[in-house]
Amino acid sequence: MEILRVENLTKVYGKGENEVRALDGVSFSVEKGDFVAIVGPSGSGKSTLLHTLGGVDRPTSGKVFVNGQDVYAGSDTQLAIFRRREVGLIYQFYNLIPVLNVRENMTLPVLLDGRKVNEQRLDELLSVLELKGREKHLPNQLSGGQQQRVSIGRALMNSPSIVLADEPTGNLDSKNSQEIVNLLKMFNREYDQTLIVITHDESIALQAKRIIAIEDGRITRDEKLS
């Protein structure tokens, strides 16, 4: 089942001589349960791609469909609701809210949606992410790996259609990195969670099911791994 389709996506920054084409006619589609790694040198446009997929950065032209729905067709509010329900974002620098504790950070997307927290899911996530007993800790009381696990929990809390991760291990040592990747793989396997991960770590990319390589805003390689 196709969960994401990208058509002719273009993003241009600046004007005239300063014009930079971060994305230049990118098209592809992703099936539900896929685990895609987007690779490329820095400045190739992979972060821009991820952000346009996540509904946080409007493309200059082209379309993004998630579950058959045109993401950028609606108003800002509809876009915000889309982000809230359909997308889970994981950042390199975790970006947790410093005044909220683990539990509160993780449940934030649910609360923002005005829904009740699914305690069972939260409990499950906490134990899978090995955060049990740390629910009341504030971000500055956690290690980097733990903080990243909280942000993964936050991204997954809403059972979004896709989870987008931007260099999720970029700020971690190799041991912690592998742990995070294992977690992501586990979620992909056990929950059939669609994952799109940006990385320039070849060893991580090779653990994905599919690799899309980008250079100068264009897809240069799209290969399925077995």
């Binding site: 950065d57 800002d76 915000a80 609701i81 970006n95 934030l108 997307p109 949606d113």
Partner: protein, 898 residues
């Protein structure tokens, strides 16, 4: 420029708004410090001038110094100048004042005429010892007239005691001793009158002679005794030493405490210390406000720069270099802010004083003493130093905090969010009401409380100051206006000969409004009594009497009467106004009675006005007491002879004030001489409600006859009038009176409006300064709030971006910020309002000593305060979040150098 300073400058430039706000904060604080010292210096200067105007420019007054001692003291280098007065002698004059039978002729040196309050009303100062100026009260009080240019002949002698006081001698300082003193010596001397001057302050009220001044032409003579008024170059330093070293100690001397006080002489520092305490309190308030502002500005700048410091120190910058970077910032901000602040402070006070100059001139009747701007250099230096210290302290503390953490911690920017303290849990209802955004706002507030403290304290402080100062102004204005039974005239000239008044009347009438004059009927010491039969009195009056006089006994009477004979023209006006029949009064024997009154009654806590009529409508005759003779040495009181009010007959008790009486239960002296009070009929032509000009309502009944019906002996009238411009009217009337041969001075009339004006002036001045102060403190607070709110929001740029990327809508963002505003506002009001109300209550207690008033909150001020608090917070919030809303969340997330 070294690299550290460049980093500092760049940072300041980058955070332009915050830098500007900080500089404004420094300007405001310095301006306020400066303003406080300047206004105090100016006020002291003004009081000093006023004191000199009223009682002369000297530090010590030595009485009757021997000539040689006076000469020695006068030549002392520590003495700046000496005003010398030589008492030439007393001469008897035909004074109507039995306590002041002489003129006292004194010779004064040039310094005296310059430095002492000798104010000419006409003519010029004496140039030789054959010329004199006379004080105006010689005529107005003593009734001894003299023309300008007239040659007066005095038989001069000195006052010596006789009989019991044999051997004593007296000066102006000793009151008249009647039969126990006489004048010794009889030197005839003639003087030309060249001028008149106001009653001098240096003549005691009890002095037996009117001070006549001539010129002292010779130097000190060993045989004479001189009154010397010394002024020192430096009283603070030299005065006590001077008194010890010279022979001053052997004479009676007095220090001029008033002037010494205002010149800051330490022994008389009660007023200056009051002023200094006042200044200290103001300084403390400004200090707190400024510290809060500047400190928070710096602590924000430092916490923002923590990462920068970390980077710098990881690349090898020493602690000293970092500290100096912070100090560079502090110094450069001070270098701009402090001079501007001093200029603004002095300028502000100069402008204020310029606009208030007329108000100040009215403070001392007749004296046009301008309020000068005095800049007190040490005060300014203290102000500048205080401001500078504030800045340095504010800069130093947070930078120290930043340096305590390791560079890596600094780079990581784990900020001071604390989990301890109260739990930040939110109830389900709360979550229902305010949503996730509300919960977030609340957690931001409760878990990083430290960042909001400055905002909340500044807001709370402004609320306290604003409400308290408004309350202060409100109570002050009230107590000024609460004087009851305000007179219904503007000016009165008492005790004018009735014949002269008749001649002047028409002319005066053209100058003034509502001209009226009365002869007050000379009754007995306690006046006349009216007997109102029970069937004639109103219930309200009866109740009032029972309420006021606890035993229900209307004590002496049942009403005091004030019987006056009113100027015929004014009486005719009264008749016309009330539509009465002239023939009842002119030629008839009826009186107009003012039947309506209003009396304020005070209890411990309340003040109520009792308003009632004395007599029932239609009452046409009551009884009034006949005058009786009071035996010499006794005084009289009236009371009922029976068991209580209305019982028996009204009786006069003649009481000897030296004797001790026992009193019965109706407070009647047992054993006093008594005599029945006789009454005659008082025919009432009309009962009216309004009081004519010059009369007052009270517990007494006013009874008015036309003046032509007057048959008594006393022929003095009291004149009253109203006027739009009292000063002009008084001048005109004075001229007419002078032409009629009546000597007038500032003490021969009473201008009611002068008091009102003066009170209003004081109120205006206090209002201007209080509100000015509030305005500045509020500005500091606004800058403070703006600064903390914008920075707090800017610091959370990433969080905002994060929340948006996670799907928070714009509406949700607004909800969150609005809720944060609500928290700020309500917290600061929660702290500020109770304190403000408490302070207002204290002010009420203080004001209550002067006039009874119910405690009332300054509601308008409270409403304004509440609205302003929310406005300031919302505007700051709107400004700072507005900047973020157009942010691309991705850019914000990427931006690490917020």
């Amino acid at each position: 420029m070294n690299i550290m300073n460049r980093v500092t400058w760049q940072t300041m430039k980058k955070n332009r708004v915050r830098t500007v706000v900080t500089i404004i904060g420094i300007i405001l604080s310095t301006a306020m410090f400066t303003a406080v010292t300047t206004i105090i210096a100016s006020l002291l200067g003004y009081f000093r001038e006023a004191e000199i105007y009223e009682s002369g420019d000297y530090h010590i007054h030595a009485y009757a110094m021997d000539g040689w001692a006076a000469e020695e003291a006068a030549e002392d280098p520590r003495v700046e100048k000496v005003s010398v007065l030589l008492n030439i002698g007393y001469a008897p004059v035909e004074s109507v004042n039995p306590d002041k039978p002489y003129v006292c002729v004194c010779a004064a040196n040039d310094v005296f005429f310059e430095s002492m309050p000798v104010r000419l009303t006409a003519g010029r100062l004496p140039l030789t010892d054959n010329e004199v100026i006379l004080p105006v009260h010689l005529q107005s009080n003593g009734g001894v007239g003299a023309e300008m240019g007239e040659i007066v002949t005095y038989h001069l002698g000195s006052r010596v005691g006789v009989g019991e006081l044999e051997g004593a001698s007296f000066s102006q300082d000793g009151a008249y001793q009647y039969q126990n003193e006489q004048l010794e010596g009889d030197t005839e001397k003639q003087f030309a009158v060249v001028g008149f001057y106001e009653r001098p302050d240096f003549e005691p009220y009890w002095a037996p002679g009117y001070t006549v001044l001539t010129k002292l032409n010779s130097g000190f003579s060993a045989n004479e005794k001189y009154d010397c008024y010394f002024r020192f170059n430096n009283a603070k330093k030299d005065m006590l030493q001077f008194v010890k070293e010279t022979r001053l100690q052997e004479y009676h001397y007095e220090e001029h405490t008033g002037l010494l006080t205002f010149e800051g002489y330490s022994r008389y520092d009660n007023i200056t210390s009051v002023m200094n305490n006042f200044a200290a309190i103001l300084f403390a308030l400004i200090f707190i406000g400024s510290i809060a502002l500047i400190y928070s500005a710096f602590s924000i700048s430092v916490s923002e720069r923590t990462k920068q410091f970390g980077l710098l120190s990881s690349t090898g910058a020493t602690r000293r270099q970092i500290k100096s970077s912070v100090m560079t910032e502090a110094l450069s901000l001070s270098a701009i802010g402090i001079p501007l602040g001093i200029a603004a402070g002095i300028g502000g006070i100069a402008v204020t004083l310029f606009f208030l100059r007329k108000t100040f001139m009215g403070f001392i009747a007749g004296a046009n003493i301008p309020m000068h701007l005095s800049v007190n250099l040490p005060g300014i230096l203290i102000a500048a130093a205080t401001a500078f210290v504030t800045v340095i302290v504010s800069a130093w503390i947070p930078s120290r905090r930043a340096m305590r953490i390791s560079p890596i911690e600094a780079i990581r920017q784990s900020r001071d969010v604390k989990a301890k303290g109260k739990s930040a849990s939110c109830s389900r209802l709360f979550t229902r009401l305010f949503g996730a955004e509300g919960v977030l706002a609340r957690k931001y507030y409760s878990r990083s409380r430290k960042k909001y403290v400055a905002t909340i304290i500044s807001l709370a402080m402004s609320v306290v100051l604003f409400v308290a100062a408004s309350g202060f102004c409100m109570y002050m204005t009230r107590s000024v206006n609460s004087v009851d039974n305000r007179s219904n005239f503007d000016v009165t000239f008492p005790n004018i000969d009735s014949a002269k008044y008749e001649r002047m009347r028409t002319e005066i009438d053209t100058l003034v409004d509502d001209l009226t004059a009365y002869i007050v009927k000379a009754g007995n010491d306690t006046g006349s009594y009216v007997y109102i039969a029970p069937e004639n009195e109103t219930q309200e009056y009866h109740d009032y009497i029972n309420m006021v006089h606890e035993d229900g006994n209307a004590v002496y009477f049942n009403a005091n009467a004030n019987v006056v004979y009113m100027d015929d023209a004014a009486f005719r006006r009264l008749i016309a106004e009330n539509g009465l029949d002239e023939s009842d009064y002119f030629g008839g024997d009826k009186a107009i009675v003012i039947n309506h009154t209003s009396i304020p009654v005070y209890t411990e806590t309340t003040r109520e006005n009792y308003v009632f009529d004395f007599l029932k409508k239609g009452v046409s005759s009551i009884l009034i007491s006949k005058p009786y003779d009071v035996p010499e040495g006794l005084y009289d009181e009236a009371n009922w002879s029976g068991d209580g009010y209305g019982d028996g007959e009204l009786t006069v008790y003649f009481i000897d004030s030296n004797a001790e009486y026992e009193y019965d239960e109706h407070y009647r002296p047992i054993g006093a001489i008594t005599q029945p009070l006789e009454f005659e009929e008082l025919k009432i032509g009309a009962l009216i409600n309004d009081v004519p000009t010059g009369m007052m309502r009270g517990e007494w009944i006013n009874i008015i006859y036309p003046m032509s019906a007057y048959t008594g002996e006393s022929k003095l009238v009291n004149m009253y009038f109203c006027s739009e411009n009292t000063e002009k009217a008084i001048d005109g009337v004075k001229k007419i009176m002078t032409a009629e041969g009546i000597a007038v001075s500032d003490r021969s009339y009473y201008d009611v409006t002068e008091d009102d004006r003066m009170m209003n002036n004081i109120v205006t001045v206090i209002k201007v300064f209080s509100y000015g102060f509030i305005a500045l403190i509020s500005l500091i607070s606004i800058a403070n709030v703006f600064n903390t709110v914008t920075t707090n929001v800017a610091l959370r740029r990433r969080d905002y971006a994060m929340l948006r990327s996670m799907g928070m809508t714009k509406k949700g963002m607004n909800r969150m910020t609005n809720y944060e505003c609500l928290i700020y506002g309500s917290r600061s009001l929660l702290i500020g309002l109770p304190i403000a109300i408490g302070v207002t209550y204290l002010i009420h207690l203080a004001a209550n000593d002067a006039a009874h008033m119910r405690f009332e909150l300054p509601w308008t001020a409270i409403v304004i305060a509440v609205l302003s608090v929310f406005t300031v917070v919302f505007v700051s919030m709107l400004y700072s979040t507005g900047k973020l809303k157009n942010d691309n969340p991705i850019d914000a997330l990427k931006d690490e150098n917020i």
